[in-house]
Amino acid sequence: MSERKLHIAILEPSEIIYEGIVNILLSSTHNIHIFRIDSIHEISNSNEQEPTDIVICNPLVISSNFSEFTEIKEKFGALIWIAISYSFSEQKLLQAFNDIIEITDKPETIIQKIENFNTNMLLHSKQKQQDVLSEREIQVLEQLVKGLSNKEIADVLHISTHTVISHRKNITQKTGIKSQSGLTIYAISNKIIQL
């Protein structure tokens, strides 16, 4: 089973704790990319290019700007937040996290906690990555490779031109191909049409 890369951000001021966590994470067999952040604002920047999957965070860093934390949590709903707990934190604060890593946790426990979230993410992303076209999209594709215009396709399928354009966008997004000749090759290769 091919594994996608897991992007983990760590927000922890203590060098000792940071190094400890990084070493434990890297000792696991998973494909992990770790980067350090100094504030939760950096989450917004990194998510545009390569989405972060998990943030491991010292809750005390958040406590002074809790409202901003909740804002960012809402904005990036798929993001998993794990607290590193080694000093007293309010229950209300800890409850805002998906899970907690205790300072006394064994390395295996820590890795297991990460793994639990990873499986969920893998299932979710597998569905998104399918480039299987829907039945409607296949119908639009069949007409497209015959050389019909958007308007003509709309007439044949009894849908609006706007809908045709929307289907075409989805087709391009799923297949990575937008030219008519390219889509024809795609259609034949996948036995959607025959010469």
Partner: protein, 219 residues
């Protein structure tokens, strides 16, 4: 820094050298020595080496006329590389592919590519016949006698189209076209496509981010 070190770090620099008409034998010489020996402006060479290594310039230096002439020459040499060498190489791989793989879609790939190659030649001819001579004239006279007959938006959209078709072709070869008895040729074809795409991307970057802004100053 020795020129050979630059090449070891990124072998694509060999293509950059060809575009600058610098032969591959560099002895133990530094970049400065090689540039002096072959009469190429070191500032342009350094800027382009950085581009090939993934570093975009934060600002465009004020190049002299001679340096700008060399930028245009570099681009023209790249065109020859594409039309006389790289695209024909890909074309011949595709021809071999049609012999080894009898799936119906493969013949279409040949048509797809030939039409695409014609589009590319048209675009490159446009640059050779219209854009570059216009720029050269600007350099000499400082005020063009004819109205400019190109637009940077058109430029950009041509580049995007050309690069996109390459992406489609790579996509089709990697993800969709059925395997015949063509594994090795497919790999050679894909590698060639990746190499071409890499050089084309930098070529477009130079035209859009460096040449066009520079020529704007002359208008």
């Amino acid at each position: 820094m020795k020129f050979s070190e630059v090449i070891f770090e990124n072998p694509s620099i060999l293509i950059l050298m060809e575009h600058f008409e610098i032969p591959c034998l560099v002895h133990e010489k530094t970049i400065e020595e090689i540039c002096k020996e072959h009469n190429v402006p070191i500032n342009v060479v350094l800027l382009f080496i950085n581009l090939y290594n993934g570093f975009n310039p934060t600002q465009i230096p004020n190049f002299s006329k001679k340096e700008i002439e060399w930028i245009i020459q570099f681009l023209q040499n790249s065109h020859l590389y594409y039309t006389d060498y790289k695209y024909p190489e890909i074309q011949s791989y595709i021809k071999e592919l049609t012999v080894l793989n009898t799936a119906p879609e493969v013949k279409l790939v040949e048509t797809f590519f030939n039409e695409y190659f014609e589009e590319v030649i048209e675009h490159l001819e446009y640059e050779n016949q219209k854009a570059y001579p216009f720029f050269k004239k600007l350099l000499q006279e400082n005020s063009p006698k004819e109205p400019k007959n190109f637009s940077s938006e058109e430029y950009h959209s041509h580049h995007t189209d050309i690069e996109y078709k390459l992406v489609e072709l790579k996509n089709l070869l990697l993800n969709h076209i059925s395997l015949g008895n063509d594994g090795i040729i497919r790999r050679k074809l894909l590698m060639s496509l990746f190499e071409l795409e890499y050089d084309l991307k930098i070529h477009s970057l130079i035209e859009e981010m460096i040449l066009v802004p520079i020529m704007r100053k002359y208008e």
